[in-house]
Every structure is written in C-alpha cells, then in structure tokens.
C-alpha cells in the first residue's frame, strides 16, 4: 500500500533555530534518507518552502480568487512529505516514527486512495 506521510511542524520555532540546530536537523534527515533509500520504500519525498510563500486559490461561480497564505491557520504547518510504499499501516507507522520531525512535530499518515479503473 502507498501512504503519504505529511510532516507538520512549528515553523516559527524552526525559524528561530540556531545554525547548529538546523544543521543537526539536516543531518538527521540525511540519516533517515540513508536508511530508507536502500529499502526502496520511499517513492518520493520533499521539503516545502515556509507558509509565508504559500498562495491559495479558489474558484467560485467561475470567478478565480487568489489569496496570500495557506488555507488554514494552525499551530503546526505542513512542511514536507514522504510518499512511502509499505506492507501495511504498522510498517508505515514504523517509518513515520523515524522521520526526524516526528520528535518535535506531527506526522499525519494517509493511505493513498487506489482507483480500480
């Protein structure tokens, strides 16, 4: 099964991190990538620019409205994702718990909807 792991963390806190802390976080992600890559379970994964760069778009009655910022104000913001291919939820949980941001933020795991076409 494919699972999308959405990485939520507190942007404001991360922006205030010291260079050493940022470097440590990078190193932790490097180690995680190093562990998961050889298993072939990682299908994709990216980090996102902060929500200050986000733009939301809606179309209502044919009219396009564009606004600054993310859709919802929350304590933790979506900061990245991994798309994993796992046997089941337990395996996905195991990998998600190893994502470095799980220690300070939250990883939301969503199974990918598969359509029979």
């Amino acid at each position: 099964m494919r699972y999308l792991c959405l990485i939520y963390s507190n942007e404001a806190a991360e922006a205030q991190a010291t260079p050493e802390e940022t470097q440590a976080l990078f190193a932790a992600y490097g180690a995680f990538e190093g562990e998961i890559a050889p298993t072939g379970k990682k299908l994709a994964g990216e980090a996102l620019q902060p929500t200050s760069t986000a733009t939301s778009v809606r179309v209502r009655d044919g009219k396009v409205s564009v606004t600054d910022g993310p859709f919802a104000e929350t304590k933790e913001q979506l900061g990245g994702f991994y798309l994993l291919n796992c046997e089941n939820l337990d395996e996905a949980l195991e990998w998600a718990a190893k994502i470095p941001s799980a220690k300070t933020g939250t990883i939301e795991i969503r199974p990918i909807m598969e359509f029979d076409l």
């Binding site: 939820l89 949980l93 795991i109 199974p111």
Partner: protein, 422 residues
C-alpha cells in the same frame, strides 16, 4: 424449546469469536467474514433445534460459514486475486478430533487488530465487544446508551478504517507486544468498569459487560505467547471485584458501600479464582498497576469485616500504585486507606493537599470521602456540608439514596447532641 434456544445462544457467544477470527484471517475482510458467520448462525438456529447441538459446534459453524464464504468470494469482484483466498478457505476445516478452527493465534490477531492504536477508544471497545465478545450491535448500543443506528455506524466506520488504512491482521512483534497489550487491557478494563460502575442503564446488560470482560481476559491470558503478569493482574482484579457484586446492592436495589456489605453474599468461587490468578502472577514479576490493584482487592475479599481489613498493607499498596500512576484518583484512594489505617485526621490532611491541587474539584468521591472522615471525627456540621456537596455531584440513583441516608443520620446526631459540635 426456549431452553434449547438459550443453549444455542450460549454456544454462539462462546464459539463465534474463534470462528470469526479464523474467517477474517482467510477472507481478509471483516464484513465478509461477519456476513458468512451470520449466515451460519441463522442456519444453526434452523437446524439445531431439530438435530440437536452438534458435538463440535465451532466446527459445524466454521464449515457452514466457510462454504458460504467460498460462494461469496467466487462471485465477488475483488481487487486481489481470488485463488489464494479460495485455497485457504478450502483448507479451513478441522483436523479430526480437533475443535479449534483457528490457528492458535487467530483470536490474538483479532483482539490486537480491534485494539489497534490507530483506532479511537470508543471504536476499539465497540469492535472488541462485537467481534470477540458475542454481543449484538443492539446490546452494545444499549450498554453504551447510544441509539442502535449510532453504534452500527460506529462499527461500519471502524471496519472501513481497518480496511482502507491497511491495519494488519497480525499479532505485534515482541518489541511492540507490551505496548499494544496495554491498549488491549485498557479496553477490557473499560468494558468491565462500564458494567460495574455505570450510573445508568439496564442491570442485566451491565452484568453482561462484566462477564464479557472477564471472559475475554481469561481467553487473553490463555492465548498470549508468554504469561503476561499485567494481563493476569487485570483478570484477577476483575474476578475479585465481580465476586463482591452480589453484596453491592440491597434488596431495594440501593448501593451498599464495601464497609457495610454482607460478606456472606460474596461469590467465593469467583474470589478464589481471582486469588489463584493473582498469586500465580505475583510469583512471576514485580507488580504493575493491575497486579497492585488486584492485590488490594484481594485484601478486601480476604477480610471478615471492614475493621478486620489489613489497612496498613492496603495503604502501602496504594503508595506503590501512586508511584506508577500519580493520578489524583489514586491519591484519593490512598487517602481513604490512610484514614482507615491511621485515623480520619491523617486522611483529611491528605485530602486537603489534594483539594489544593484543584484537579478533583467536581469529583463526587472526594466529597463523599471528606464527609465520611468528618463524620468519624464527630465534626457533624462540616460532615453534613460535605454530604450535601457530594449529593450535588451525584447522579447515580443508588448512591443518591445512600448519601441522603448518611446526611440525615448526621443531622439526627447533630440534633441529638444538642447543636453543632464544632
């Protein structure tokens, strides 16, 4: 005729969990397995009154449900290939002389899946009672005081999540087993407590919940790969509590507190089983929270009266429990034990500290305990005030009657002694 039906229903309750557990493993789908089992139960209701209950009812039900499943799988449009499922279904029969349709760990898989941490607690409880316990959806709805449609919806949602989120049908590996077992034990204890303490609902269904929790805990201790002292502790705790059930209400249906219960009414065989399980577990390991609570319960059941109870020992056990579970409720129970072991004044001191923390400000037992301590100290006006506070927070009709009785006793005593004594 009704006697036969009663027996059949008892057999269903005993056997359907294991049949379902085996079916789910093979067909990999809760709903399909449940449908096939339901079908088999209907066939049994038709056939057994005429033919008699078969010697191996689980085998009969498994074969009947399996045949139905083969039929359904052949006709179904499935994402995965049918061949392996059909092959396993064909093999799902009992070896001769064996009454176990399931692999030894089928029911274990089922209970761990039902109590998977990715499911919310209400859903875990409902699904456990529905699949492993033999309770119908309407019985569970009645027990939890929700409309049947709500409970049915809850069950549909949880089964859908198991399927769509890919929650595996496995016994967790040894590194995770302890952690996952904790959730299973919590679910069983919740079911028991709902039956034992619930403030509303039908008495019969309440008793059924306690019986189911005990039955499932007994199965769990039998099928776990290694003895787990906390699982045994929970079983012992529930058995020992349940042993006191016959004395917890009087003929008028009113609540009778432990100190005033007629101990001759306690269920001795239930208590003995509890003691035996407790002793076995205590030999194996340093006690965890359930074992400590079982040990406390055992000291109560061993005592001939409230006065004869080994309160100093109970006080120490609550101290130990509080180290593992530093909750205000445990602290309150500790204070009650201290009041019995060292006198109400010592108990009051601890209560005041607890009240200072403010975490139990709406907790009825806190005021009931304080009222009791004050009454025993002879501070009748203060006691009456505390009883009134406790009454305000009480909804349970039996406890209301009890507290009102205490309040009027205290007020009579006040009048008798010619006015306030403090």
């Amino acid at each position: 005729m009704d006697a036969v039906r009663d027996r059949i229903e008892r057999v269903f309750r005993e056997e359907q969990g294991r049949v379902l557990a085996a079916l789910i493993r093979v067909v990999r789908d809760f709903d399909l397995a449940e449908d096939c089992l339901h079908d088999a139960l209907l066939k049994a209701l038709e056939a057994w009154p005429k033919s008699g209950i078969p010697d191996r009812p689980a085998a009969w039900l498994t074969t009947t449900a399996r045949n139905r499943a083969i039929d359904r799988v052949r006709r179904a449009k499935l994402r995965e290939t049918k061949e392996p499922i059909l092959r396993e279904l064909a093999e799902l029969k009992l070896s001769s002389g064996d009454d176990m349709p399931e692999l030894p760990d089928d029911r274990l898989r089922l209970i761990f899946t039902c109590c998977h941490p990715a499911l919310d607690r209400e859903a875990q409880v409902a699904l456990t009672l529905r699949t492993l316990g033999g309770l119908t959806t309407s019985e569970i709805a009645r027990a939890y005081l929700v409309p049947q449609a709500t409970m049915a919806q809850r069950l549909v949602r949880v089964k859908r999540k198991i399927r769509d989120a890919g929650i595996p049908y496995v016994v967790p590996g040894s590194t995770q087993l302890r952690e996952r077992l904790e959730a299973v034990l919590e679910v069983l204890y919740l079911v028991f407590n709902e039956g034992y303490w619930a403030s509303e609902g039908e008495a019969l269904i309440r008793q059924e919940l306690c019986a189911e929790a005990i039955r499932l805990a007994r199965i769990l201790t039998e099928i776990l790969p290694l003895p787990e002292p906390e699982a045994e502790g929970l079983l012992a705790l529930m058995l020992l509590h349940d042993a006191r059930r016959p004395a917890r209400t009087n003929a008028a249906g009113e609540f009778v507190p432990l100190a005033e219960q007629d101990r001759a009414l306690w269920d001795r065989s239930r208590a003995e089983e509890g003691h035996a399980v407790l002793e076995g577990a205590l030999r194996r390991a340093a006690p965890g929270p359930y074992l400590i609570q079982a040990a406390i319960s055992a000291l109560h059941t061993q005592a001939a009266s409230a006065e004869d109870t080994d309160w100093p020992q109970i006080m120490l056990l609550y101290e130990g429990l509080h180290r593992l579970q530093p909750t205000p409720v445990v602290a309150l129970n500790h204070a009650v034990a201290v009041a019995m072991a060292r006198g109400p004044e010592a108990g009051l001191e601890l209560l005041e500290a607890l009240e200072g923390e403010g975490r139990l400000s709406d907790y009825q037992p806190l005021y009931a305990a304080r009222a009791d301590f004050l009454r025993r100290l002879g501070a009748l006006s203060l006691a009456a005030g505390a009883y009134r506070q406790a009454l305000e927070l009480t909804t349970h009709p039996r406890q209301l009657t009890y507290l009102r009785g205490r309040l009027s006793e205290v007020e009579d005593a006040k009048r008798g002694s010619g006015g306030p004594s403090e």
